[in-house]
Subunit: 328 residues, 2 copies
């Protein structure tokens, strides 16, 4: 019998049921160290949330049947590609969180554009008067008639493009896909990225963190954006250069950064920042809550099970990761 | 020459230019007490932002030619109807802020639904870790597939209905208009209001404050709403009963209230509340900034000038207020 290792208890029994018709399901979170060691050589496919501590280089060498890894997350930057044999196909869960993350992204955009988080906090802390807080809410951005720029035009990007259209915005996008959608102008390459940044009143970052995108938004890119633009990040913190962002926010008080994702430190996302960027009034941050909200909907769980079944049935899985884009 | 008194300098010269072809424009903010006294008996129409201090009962008695009052605001609850002769037609500026206020309302909804204001403040104050803040962000509301209820289906309500449709929500509305719009189910009367409150995952209050709507949302109405619903108010604070809301928020931590408008105290909107409602984590408040953002767009100014011209040309003005709905 073929064996699929599921390393997270976030996938319910109902969702796993579909998998049972095609393979034996090993519930990793129920096994002790001995059980894990016994089963690893038999595992052909693995469904991961994060990187399991027992996926060490030594254990991976013993997993001689492993051919397929499916992540619950959209991003795969947590995968230790350098320890994973070339024969293993890695699939991301792109698209499965588009609704939850897209909605969260739009909330971050409006919270910054309308200074909602800032004035809510000011009212609660200072108990002051109207005029003072209104003065702090200058440069409120009206979205209608403005331009929305989307950096990375996948599932989340397309969801946000729909919201932007409903708000009466023009939509421009930077991406490498060949899709063209009604009303959305797609740009490519370095000059395309610059074009989107220059044109937009609000910019969404929704592309994966790879060797190519790490630090993609640095001081040059921030510098060509509009002075009162709002930059929203729901992808990965490290796509934006932290020092460059800190300096840009400090010297451009009408420019706003709103993020659900944080910079990595020693391989782990953390709310601790290198610069005191959280103290700036034009910084809005949520603790990577957009994804967990998606998990609550069950959509990502259904998607990983379906994609693993595609692999088991010999069909081409969706969202196969191009490993050359990640450090090995 | 017919005379129009403009009491606010928020209307620019460009916008006033259109008015000059039909009447003499008196800039109230440029006159001293003597100048005001001299001009009042000649004023036929007045454009107001708020209620001018010199519109006392005595002065209004001397304004024998006054026939038309146009407010810059959508709400007209600041008008002293009891001092204003019956012959004076009062027009609100309904619709002129729909874009700015609708966008702000959607921002408030998402800030509460996704706990954006709460977690942003928690991160900035406590410098804590991910898991703690994520636990605080339980009950995140995914809008797609849910139901949006709109109490008061005017310009702002219709703008928000469009946003809700783009987010994949069903839309139900409570209103007295006869309009029916594609995809929006309209309900009327007390039972209609209850229906909308019961069905909805998110509810927008966007109707005027009148004798009929003061305290419209009390403990009974809050009690029939879903336990994890989000209630958004961009109309007037006093449509919601403060004590009932405070008690409901305290005993239902997943229920959220997000507001741009505040309760009146001694005839004036104030951020001071009777109950310590601002300390509750499920309360989000902005300092009535949605309107000023609209003024920045110039839309309300253009609308009041156009409507005053309609009056001067003998056409029926828009947004004539039914005075019997306001305390006299």
């Amino acid at each position: 019998m073929r064996r699929v290792l599921v390393t997270t208890d976030r996938i319910g029994l109902e969702e796993l049921a579909g998998l049972l018709r095609h393979a034996d399901v090993v519930k990793g979170w129920k096994l002790d160290e001995g059980g894990i060691q016994a089963v690893l050589p038999e595992v052909e496919a693995a469904i991961l949330l994060g990187w399991p501590p027992y996926f060490t280089r030594e254990n991976l060498e013993r997993m001689v049947r492993l051919r397929f890894v499916q992540t619950m997350s959209v991003g795969v930057n947590q995968i230790r590609f350098q320890d994973l044999p070339r024969r293993v196909m890695v699939c991301s869960n792109a698209g499965a969180y588009s609704t939850a993350v897209g909605e969260h992204a739009w909330g971050l955009l409006l919270a910054a554009a309308k200074w909602i988080a800032l004035t809510d906090a000011a009212i609660k802390q200072e108990q002051g008067a109207f005029d003072q807080f209104r003065a702090g809410a200058k440069d409120t951005l009206v979205l209608k008639g403005g331009t929305m720029g989307i950096i990375g035009y996948g599932g989340i990007g397309r969801a946000v493009a729909r919201f932007a259209a409903a708000f009466g915005m023009n939509v421009v996008a930077f991406g490498r896909g060949s899709r063209r959608e009604k009303g959305v102008r797609l740009y490519r390459g370095r000059s395309g990225l610059d074009k989107v940044l220059r044109l937009s009143d609000a910019v969404l970052i929704s592309l994966p963190l790879t060797k190519l995108t790490e630090g993609l938004i640095g001081s040059r890119e921030l510098g060509i954006m509009k002075k009162n633009a709002v930059l929203v990040n729901v992808a990965r913190g490290d796509i934006v250069h932290q020092r460059a962002l800190y300096e840009h926010l400090k010297s451009n008080p009408s420019f706003r950064y709103a993020t659900d994702v944080w910079w990595f430190k020693e391989g782990k996302e953390t709310l601790e920042t290198e610069f005191s960027i959280k103290d700036l009034p034009n910084f809005v941050g949520t603790p990577h809550t957009s994804g967990p909200a998606g998990v609550a909907s069950g959509e990502p769980q259904r998607a990983v099970v379906l994609n693993t079944i595609r692999y088991l049935r010999g069909l081409k899985p969706r969202n196969i990761v191009n490993r050359t884009e990640y450090a090995e």
